[in-house]
């Protein structure tokens, strides 16, 4: 098969169809709407389920219901919609059913805007709902990778009976790139033995996240934590390195920010600066161990994100204060330009006279402005 020019959202949709997604439930929200629209045509064509729900709350619970029957199911949304789904994520995690969620992130907080953002990093990797759980979180940086990771998402969800997120920012959702789709998979003929299909010739199956006794619930939590630990230990950590071999300064970025950072690395290398890029592909489980190793190589880290600094905390935790971890971020749906990142790197590597970092870059509001604000 050959490469075709495809929009990110549409590519994710078709990849999920080919990965065997049998049901899609969603609610319109920019910048993911093309995904829903594509599914509205494609799923019925194949005799599969498409339903536009009345809200994201309903959509995630439809997903929960379909997941309980043992089929491959997904929903997609963007940041505010993801916030609304959190109770459902927690129930899904608490009852060990597989589901795939696509988040095409936009600027927040509140209604924010519809421009690309990475502001959902924390809400997805850390606080996807009440209680102790983490979804597996896959963060592609190109349309091709979005396709590949969508297929992987369904496989991982099923393998571990867990929630898997594919997170892209609006830029990857909206951009056109040449990419190749995988072949169409055949749908399985049966359902898993835990699924709700009607208790015909067997004991009844129950899907529930309710464990009223403290002993029972602690046991359930221990099992869930053991599963998460197993996922972390079981080769599910994914990342990519670019020119890290001899890097003095290591950029760390995911998704669109990583593309910007990669361009910056290319430019800076031409200037003779030894800069490399580390790109986490799984945001959970986070590639902490490799980052720890890289502190033996690079003596300065710079995390670039399209938010106020969310992944940077995971990087700092991984680095154990062995090297300084700096941050450069843009918010409000702004994609940083490679030049901005390059300038920050030159300052850190003392190639140009340094400005006061705190004042110019680290805080979105200048200290004196914040002070004025507080006096109001």
């Amino acid at each position: 098969m050959s490469k075709k020019l495809m929009k990110g959202n549409v590519a994710i949709a078709e990849a999920s169809v080919r990965a065997g997604c049998e049901a899609y439930f969603g609610y319109p929200i920019t910048p993911q709407t093309e995904l829903l629209e594509y599914m509205s045509e494609r799923m019925p064509e194949l005799g599969r389920v498409f339903l536009q729900a009345e809200s994201e709350v309903a959509a995630i619970n439809m997903v929960y219901g379909a997941a309980a029957t043992g089929v491959r199911v997904m929903t997609s949304s963007s940041s505010p919609g993801i916030s609304l789904m959190q109770e459902g994520f927690s129930y899904i995690a608490g009852s060990d059913v597989p589901a795939v969620i696509v988040d095409v992130m936009r600027g927040g907080p509140g209604l924010g805007n519809i421009q690309p953002s990475q502001g959902d990093y924390n809400q997805i990797t850390k606080t996807a709902g009440h209680g102790d759980f983490h979804p597996i979180v896959l963060a592609p940086a190109s349309v091709q990778e979005a396709i590949d990771l969508t297929v992987l998402a369904f496989d991982l969800a099923e393998k571990y009976r867990t929630l898997v997120f594919v997170v892209v920012d609006g830029a990857i959702g909206q951009m056109m790139e040449p990419a190749e789709l995988p072949p169409m998979r055949e749908l399985p003929s049966g359902r898993p033995d835990w699924a709700l299909t009607g208790a015909k010739g067997r004991e009844k199956n129950v899907i529930s996240s309710l464990f009223l006794g403290t002993t029972e619930l602690e046991l359930m939590n221990k099992e869930l934590q053991a599963k998460l630990a197993y996922i972390q230990a079981n080769n599910e950590i994914r990342y990519e390195e670019y020119m890290t071999n001899d890097a003095d300064l290591l950029l760390v970025a995911f998704g669109t920010a990583a593309r910007v950072a990669q361009t910056a690395v290319q430019h800076l290398r031409q200037e003779g600066l030894k800069v490399g890029l580390f790109r986490p592909i799984t945001l959970w489980p986070f590639p902490s161990r490799r980052l720890t190793q890289l502190t033996y190589l690079a003596d300065t880290f710079l995390v670039v994100e399209m938010n106020a600094g969310q992944m940077v905390h995971d990087v700092r935790a991984a680095v154990h204060e062995r090297v300084p971890v700096h941050f450069y971020g843009r918010m409000g749906g702004v994609i940083p330009m490679p030049e901005e990142v390059e300038q920050k790197v030159r300052e850190l590597m003392r190639v140009v006279p340094t400005e006061d970092d705190v004042q110019t870059h680290q805080f979105p509001v200048k200290p004196q402005a914040a002070h004025e604000f507080l006096r109001m």
């Binding site: 729900a53 709350v57 309903a58 619970n61 029957t69 199911v73 109770e87 009852s95 015909k200």
Partner: protein, 253 residues
């Protein structure tokens, strides 16, 4: 347990436990009509031969453990979301019989959006809706179905309609939607009404079997514990106080 074991020789068991009802104790308070409703649904599932095809979606409320009490495949939805979960199941498994079992806080308050839209879509599911005019599980707070003047733990002076509005008539509301194929209100306060309730539950499942669309049976139900009444007083209270506000009848058949 095989009921026959419990029968002495030469005796015929005429009132056995339905197969669809699990052989276990429930946690319901004495005199609570949740138990009555469970038995009616189980009898209907047995009589229609549906046990092995049925999937129950339990809700959050006193009936949260319904998945333990029915001998069918089951799941437990977030508060109010049972109709959405049932939709997901039914769309993927159209050959299963899918029903939710919901209280009035669950269905008429937090879950209003899900139930209205399931009905509006003509979702081919059945809803067993227990209206006991209060939030039983959380200790008897005011529900959207609480009667004007009724004292609850969050309306200690009695429900003041000027402040908190009026009771919601779900069977009428759902019956008004084109997607609804069957919407009726029955009561569980005496034997005659219990028999009528069972007939309605049977019809609701038959509607689903015939793929006719959304079916709902609202059942006026007791909560002696939170009403502060004996079981007997609470049945009288349904008859004398609830039925005048919530007229029994067929709103879509």
């Amino acid at each position: 347990m095989n009921p026959a074991v419990m029968t002495a020789p030469n005796e015929t068991l005429v009132y056995a436990r339905p197969q669809s009802l699990a052989d276990c104790y429930t946690h319901y308070c004495p005199g609570c009509t949740h138990g009555t409703a469970h038995r009616l649904v189980a009898e209907v599932l047995d009589e229609l031969g549906l046990r092995e095809r049925t999937i129950l979606v339990a809700s959050v409320g006193c009936s949260v453990f319904a998945y333990n009490y029915f001998n069918v495949d089951a799941c437990e939805a977030p508060h109010g979301r049972a109709p959405a979960m049932a939709t997901g199941i039914k769309r993927v498994n159209p050959n299963n019989i899918v029903f939710t079992y919901q209280g009035d806080g669950d269905l008429a308050s937090i879950g209003m959006g899900e139930v209205i839209h399931a009905a509006a879509r003509g979702e081919n599911i059945t809803i067993i809706f227990l209206n006991n005019a209060t939030y039983g599980m959380t200790g008897g707070q005011m529900a959207p179905t609480t009667l004007p003047g009724q004292k609850t733990s969050s309306s200690p002076q009695g429900r003041d309609v000027a402040m908190t509005g009026y009771p919601l008539h779900m069977a009428e509301l759902l019956g008004s939607l084109p997607g609804t194929a069957y919407s009726v209100r029955r009561s569980l306060h005496d034997a005659r009404h219990v028999i009528q309730a069972k007939k309605a539950i049977r019809t609701a499942f038959e509607v689903q079997m015939a793929n006719k669309g959304f079916s709902v049976v609202e059942l006026l139900s007791s909560c002696p514990t939170n009403w502060g009444m004996t079981p007997e007083q609470s049945l009288t209270w349904i008859k004398e106080q609830m039925v005048p506000v919530y007229p029994l009848g067929d709103f879509k058949v």
